[in-house]
Symmetry: C2
Subunit: 434 residues, 2 copies
C-alpha cells in the first residue's frame, strides 16, 4: 500500500496568497486607459471593481492576507488533494512520477471558486449589490454564482452562446446556485446588439461576453460591479493557493517537481499552480520547467504577438501588454470553451518573454485521447480544458520512458468533465476536428 493522496488539514490552508509581481525580474508594463492611452490609475477601475480588489491589482507586496471569511468558505473543499497517479504511471510504463493537483473537488468542479469567493466577499464588503460576469465553458459562471449566493449578491452571467447551447446542464448548475444566465451575444447590451447585427449566428466569444458584462456593470449606476475569472493580477494571485498548497504537499510526498504543467486559457489555472514554484526559483530556490499548454486552435502564447491589446472584443477594457491573437479573433468552437480567449494574462505573458516558462499548443483529439487514458486509470474524467495538461503530462512521462529518466511531473487537474460528456461522446464518435 503506497501512499496515493497527499492531504493537508484545514489548519494548513495557506493564510496568504502569493503575489509574483514582487519577484518578477522585470516589472509589468502598466495597463493603459482605452480612451487616453495613458497608464491607468486605481480610480479608472472604480466603475468595475471594489477598492480592495483594485489595491490587489496594483499591489507589489509578496504576500497578501486571505480574509477569515474567505478561508471559512475555502474549508468546504480546501486544501484540495495532491494525488500520485500511480495507475497512470503503470499504464504508461514510465519511470516518471506523476502528480496532479485535483481542483475538481470544488463546488463548481474547478479551480475557479478560489477567486470567485474572495471577489464576491470584497464586493459585498464594499456595498455592491450585483455582480456581472462572462463565462465560457461555465466553470467560472457557476463558481461566481455560488460565491454570490454565499455572500448575498445577485449574479448575472453572460454565457458564450456556443457553450450555452452545448452545455445546458452547466446553465442548470448556475441556476441551481441562484444566478441568472443570458446567452452572449445578447440583446441586453449595445455590444451584444452590435455583434448580432454583424452576424446573427455568432457563436460568441469570451471577449465579446466580457464586453457585455462590463457594459452592464458600468451602466448600472454603481449598484453592480464586474468580476473577471482570469487574466488579471489579482485573479492569478487568488489562484496561487493551489501552488502554495502543492508546495507543502510535495514536501509530504518527499519530492519536488522537475516539471509543472497547466492548461492556459487566460492563465489563472496555470499561474495558480506554477507561480509559487517559479517564485521559489526566482528567489534563488530550486528551478522547475513550467509548461503552459494551450489549444492549437487558439494559440495565444505560441503564435500570438506580445503587444498592447484590449481584453474584450468591443474595446471597453484597459489595454494590457500581453500575448494576443487580436481582440477581434474568434476562435473555433472547440469543446475546451474555457481556453477560447484571444489574450493571455500579462503576468504569464511577461514570464514567457523572459523565458521563465515554456508554451505548448496541442490539438483537441490528442487531448481527449489523453483524457480517456487518464479516466480509465485514475477514475476521474477531466474537463476538456484539463485534458490539455493531461496530454502534456503524459507526453513528458513518455519522454522519460524513452530517455530512462525518472522525473517528477506535477500538473493541474483544473476540473472534472461531468458537464462535458457530450465532448467525450463526440470524441468516441469521431466527430471532433483539430
Amino acid at each position: 500500500m503506497s501512499q496515493t493522496k497527499f492531504l493537508l488539514s484545514e489548519a494548513q490552508i495557506p493564510t496568504t496568497w502569493y503575489n509574483v509581481v514582487a519577484d518578477l525580474p522585470k516589472p509589468l508594463d502598466p495597463m493603459l486607459h482605452p480612451g487616453t492611452r495613458e497608464p491607468i490609475t486605481p480610480a479608472d477601475l472604480e466603475p468595475l471593481f471594489p477598492a480592495e480588489l483594485i489595491a490587489q491589482e496594483f499591489s507589489t507586496d509578496r504576500e497578501v492576507d486571505i480574509p477569515g471569511a474567505v478561508i471559512d468558505v475555502y474549508q468546504q473543499w480546501r486544501p484540495s488533494p495532491l494525488v500520485r497517479a500511480r495507475r497512470l504511471e503503470k499504464a504508461l510504463d514510465t519511470p516518471a512520477r506523476i502528480y496532479f493537483k485535483n481542483e475538481g473537488v470544488s463546488p463548481a468542479g474547478s479551480h475557479k471558486p478560489n477567486t470567485a469567493i474572495p471577489q464576491a466577499y470584497y464586493n459585498k464588503q464594499a456595498g455592491v449589490e450585483r455582480l456581472t460576469t462572462e463565462t465560457g465553458a461555465g466553470q467560472w459562471g457557476s463558481s461566481l454564482s455560488l460565491a454570490c449566493q454565499y455572500f448575498g449578491l445577485v449574479c448575472e452571467v453572460y454565457m458564450v452562446k456556443v457553450s450555452y447551447q452545448q452545455k445546458p446542464y452547466r446553465r442548470g448548475l448556475m441556476e441551481t446556485f441562484g444566478a441568472s444566465v443570458t446567452a452572449s451575444p445578447s440583446e441586453l447590451t449595445e455590444a451584444g446588439r452590435a455583434a448580432l447585427a454583424a452576424d446573427p449566428n455568432s457563436p460568441g466569444s469570451l471577449g465579446l461576453a466580457i464586453s457585455e458584462a462590463v457594459e452592464a456593470a458600468v451602466k448600472s449606476g454603481g449598484t453592480a460591479k464586474y468580476a473577471l475569472g482570469s487574466v488579471l493580477n489579482h485573479v492569478l494571485m487568488h489562484q496561487t493557493i493551489m501552488g502554495k498548497e502543492a508546495l507543502l504537499q510535495m514536501e509530504l510526498a518527499e519530492d519536488y517537481p522537475d516539471i509543472v504543467i497547466g492548461a492556459a486559457g487566460g492563465g489563472s489555472n496555470f499561474g495558480g499552480l506554477a507561480l509559487p514554484f517559479l517564485g521559489e526559483q526566482m528567489r534563488g530556490g530550486r528551478s522547475v520547467r513550467a509548461i503552459a499548454v494551450e489549444p492549437s486552435s487558439c494559440p495565444t502564447l505560441t503564435k500570438g504577438t506580445f503587444e498592447y491589446d484590449f481584453g474584450d472584443t468591443a474595446g471597453m477594457t484597459p489595454l494590457t501588454k500581453m500575448h494576443t491573437l487580436g481582440h477581434d479573433f474568434v476562435p473555433p468552437s472547440i469543446h475546451a470553451g474555457g481556453l477560447r480567449y484571444h489574450g493571455m494574462s500579462p503576468i504569464i505573458s511577461q514570464l514567457k518573454e523572459l523565458d521563465l516558462l515554456e508554451a505548448r499548443a496541442v490539438p483537441q483529439t490528442a487531448c481527449f485521447e489523453a483524457g480517456v487514458t487518464f479516466a480509465r486509470n485514475e477514475g476521474i474524467v477531466p474537463a476538456p480544458e484539463s485534458t490539455h495538461a493531461v496530454r502534456a503530462a503524459i507526453d513528458e512521462a513518455l519522454a522519460c520512458k524513452e530517455s530512462g529518466e525518472s522525473k517528477s511531473i506535477l500538473f493541474s487537474l483544473s476540473g472534472h468533465g461531468h458537464f462535458d460528456m457530450q465532448a467525450y461522446i463526440d470524441y468516441f464518435a469521431g466527430k471532433l476536428k483539430d
Copy 2:
C-alpha cells in the same frame, strides 16, 4: 475557523468490512430456489457469482478481510470526507449538528464503487472474463464499468430505458470507462423481448433489467457472471466501509449521531452507513435512530409487505424474504432512478420488522427543494436519490429547532447530481410530479 471536514489518512482505511448478520437478534430467513422453493445452497448461486462472493453472501463472520488489491483502489478516493454542514445549520437556524458522509467524491460520483471494486476483483480472481449487470440512474453501471476496466474484465450494462433516455451523459461516462450499454428492455434477451412484446413503450424497471443481465450471464456458458449493485448481503457488507469510516470520523468530531439517515432503494447505501452504528447498538453500545428514506412513489418499506418475492421481474432470481411491492410493480418514472426498485434488502427488511430502524416515504418535489437548499449552502448538488436523505435530515433539524433540542444528525450524501441536472431544470420549471 471551526473544523468543517473530518478526514482520515489512507492508513486509516478500514481493513475489514462489517457483516451485520453476526449481530442480528433474529437470523435472516433463507433464500429459496425459484424452481424447488427449497433453501438455496452456495452451489445454486454458482452460475451467477464467483465462489468468494457466494461465501460472503452466506457468511456469519462479523468482520471480513478486505483484499489489499481492493484497498489499493479504494485509496484513490477513500476515506471519503465526513463534513459538518455548518452553512446549512446556520441557514436553518437549528441547534442541531448536521454531518454528512460525502460519497460523491468517488470516481463514479456515488457509494457504488465500494462494492463494484471488490466484485470485479473476486470475479477476476475466479477467472471470469465478462460481467453483466443492470443500472437504473447509472450510478451502479458507471461504477462497475470502471471496476471492470481496472481488473481487465469486459462490462455489459443493461440500463433501465427511462434513465437511458433521460441520462445520455451517464451512458457517456460508462462508455468513457470502457463499458457497453444497452437500453432495457432490449431485444438481446428473452426477458427483454417478452417485455417489449407486452408493451413496446415500456420505460423499463430495475427488476426487468436484472432479469436481462442475469439471463445474459446464465446463458454465457460460464465466461460471464452477474454483478448486483444492492440488496444482497455481500453488497451491504462491502458498503459498510462508509459507516466504519464514519464511526472513526465522528470520534474525530468528538460527537456521536443521535440519528443516522440514508436514502433506501435496494438498501445498500442506507445499510452501508447505518449498519456499523446499529451493530454498536445491538452489541450493547450507544443507540441511534436509523431512518431509511424512500420515494413515496416507490414505498417499499413503508407500504410493501414482508414476504418471499423474486428480486427480478421475470422470476429468475432466488426468492428472498423482504419488503416488496410485488416483482411486477413498475414504479413511476421519477428522477431518482436508483430508488425505483420493488424490493428491499433482506437485512434492511429484517431490521425494519425488528423495529431497529424507521422508514419514511417522501415526495420528490420536497426532496428537490431540500436538494437546492443544500446546494446553495454546502456547494454540492446532491443526486436525486441523495436528496431523500437531505430532506429527512433537514426535517429532523427543523424538528430540533421546534423542540430546542441539539441533536447530532448524520446522513449519507450518497452521490452528486452532476449527471442529473435535467431533474433540477425540470424542478425549477415546475414540471415534477409527486
